[in-house]
Symmetry: C2
Subunit: 348 residues, 2 copies
């Protein structure tokens, strides 16, 4: 299989290459695609990889008739400009951006939740990868719905700087250094996150519309309903950027249709592939972003802890969910979509 990674030098694209190196999807040939400034770079030597990689090329220069799969991770503008051309040429496009997520003719897939929507090749040749916050959320909510029935979901997020790409990561490091060197310095100017993030919180991710909800919050609501197949689900969110480098965290309040117990929920989630449950009897009984980011094994999982039921309401529980937004929330989900498509047989 020949795979193009569009945005190969970005935060998500690089993680795609690392995951391909690990054999998440077997490939014969990789076409790394980036902007003109990166043409000719040898990403094997830059990233310490040993992949069947061509030199970096631009998206305009790619002949997509000779590409089986194109993973787009260069942002919505590039996707809007180039992804349909790639799909029309015959490549299966898995798009990481929000460009096509709202389209009824483009399946929005989390392989652990709704892989059946890939039973047949989409006529558009397009598959959308959901928003990072949504993916880790629905991977915990899907088995919980089977266990107890979702009645209402209230989410507060704690999202990492890596969601702002390499520029976001560098900015958090630079501005944090500056604040530590001079605590009395004035607050930094707005940067990648619209507001200074160092030792601060930015409670708006993406622009707010007339309702007051931010783009990130609207994505969590609309995409979760669609992926879970629950268009009427009561779900609402507040999305907050926090001064953490890697991994998004979420505290999730769920009202269930049937009564629940903490051990029942722990048991129901613990049997699900790809979920790591931290039981109340463990110490600590919760995941944390910095620890989850440490190993490839934990970066590949959705971590759920602090499972607890309101003492006076056995239809109300809390979850604390942590996952690597670049892996679980982006590159790994995209490659898992490719893997599902391969297994269906229609992706020759």
């Amino acid at each position: 299989m020949r795979i193009a990674v569009v945005g190969a030098t970005g935060a998500v694209g690089k993680e795609c290459l690392h995951l391909l190196q690990q054999g998440v999807v077997p490939v014969d040939d990789i076409v790394p695609v980036a902007s003109g400034a990166s043409v000719g770079r040898d990403l094997n030597s830059e990233l310490g990889l040993d992949l069947p990689l061509a030199p970096v090329t631009t998206v305009e220069a790619v002949d997509f008739t000779k590409v089986d799969v194109a993973v787009f991770c260069a942002g919505a503008d590039t996707s809007r400009a180039e992804a349909e051309r790639a799909a029309a040429a015959g490549a299966l496009v898995v798009d990481n951006s929000s460009a096509f997520r709202h389209r009824a003719d483009v399946p929005l897939i989390v392989p652990e939740v709704n892989p059946h929507l890939l039973a047949n090749r989409p006529a558009t040749n397009l598959v959308a990868n959901p928003n990072c916050s949504t993916i880790q959320l629905v991977r915990a909510l899907h088995p919980l719905h089977a266990h107890a029935g979702l009645d209402e979901v209230v989410v507060a997020t704690y999202q990492a700087a890596s969601g702002g790409g390499q520029r976001g990561l560098a900015e958090l490091a630079d501005t944090s250094r500056r604040r530590l060197a001079d605590p009395d310095a004035s607050v930094d100017p707005p940067g990648r996150f619209g507001q200074p993030l160092a030792f601060n919180l930015v409670p708006e991710i993406g622009l707010s519309d007339d309702t007051g909800f931010s783009h990130e919050e609207r994505k969590i609501v609309a995409e979760s309903r669609r992926i879970l197949g629950l268009p009427e689900l009561r779900i609402s969110a507040t999305a907050v950027r926090v001064p953490v480098f890697d991994c998004h965290s979420e505290t999730v309040r769920v009202r269930t249709r049937r009564p629940v117990s903490a051990s029942g929920v722990e048991d129901a989630l613990a049997t699900v592939d790809g979920l790591r449950v931290y039981r109340r009897t463990e110490s600590p009984s919760y995941p944390m972003p910095r620890q989850v980011a440490l190993t490839d094994e934990s970066r590949a999982l959705v971590h759920v802890g602090r499972i607890r039921i309101d003492p006076d309401d056995d239809h109300a529980l809390w979850l604390w969910i942590v996952a690597d937004n670049l892996w679980v929330g982006a590159a790994l989900n995209a490659l898992n979509i490719v893997s599902v498509a391969t297994k269906t047989g229609w992706l020759a």
Copy 2:
């Protein structure tokens, strides 16, 4: 009036002195109390103040029959050991710790919410200052209840390192410096926050009990119900420590008994003394902890933004609340209690 500040060299005690310097409560004489190691320190010169301050003494050495008011901010152990002796000697004790908050004969006061409970001097001579997260929460919920009736409250907190005192602040700075100098360093050992906080999140504040809820979360529930005078209120919380130096933030989901509009809620809160409302038409439409910490004026207020109603449910809204946990959440609330007691006349 003669006032003793017990724990005067700690994070909250120092803020008490700064606020006394500003004349929040008129005093004739201040007795600063700390541990033996601090005896004799001159806090006026250390803190750049010009107060009627005696040299630092120990709590055992204080003759509380000669003290009108004692503000205890040295932690629950000191309060349990010494506060009742001070109260029995005739001093009005305003206690910042959790030692007496559960006692029916000790009023738990937020002056903007339930000052009427101080109409008469408490027979115990004890008044409890609530938990920091609770104070900023109920100051926004109280007028919202009058406006629309509270049906259910779901809180997720983003709490600053200053809640762990000066040691917590120093630890966040030191461990952040270390992480920036060596990104590949192993995660720091647990310190003041039970887990490493630098560029991390610690989703458990205080010990969890059999229900799985942490001490901080149980305090928010029990104290909010009591202060609001709503013992049956449906309220639940997740409390998370975040790598921010000053000011606690909270995202609060409220289900109301009557339908609400965003502008109606903005208007209702904007008229309340001590609240600063960020309307949807402002930019930014929300407060942030690092900015709130910058000036004395903003440190003295509760800041509420991102007021928004669910598009498909006019009984469900969100608030984003930020306040300085050392001022609004501790020292300033305690001194405001003293101020109310002074005005009632029973505190001669």
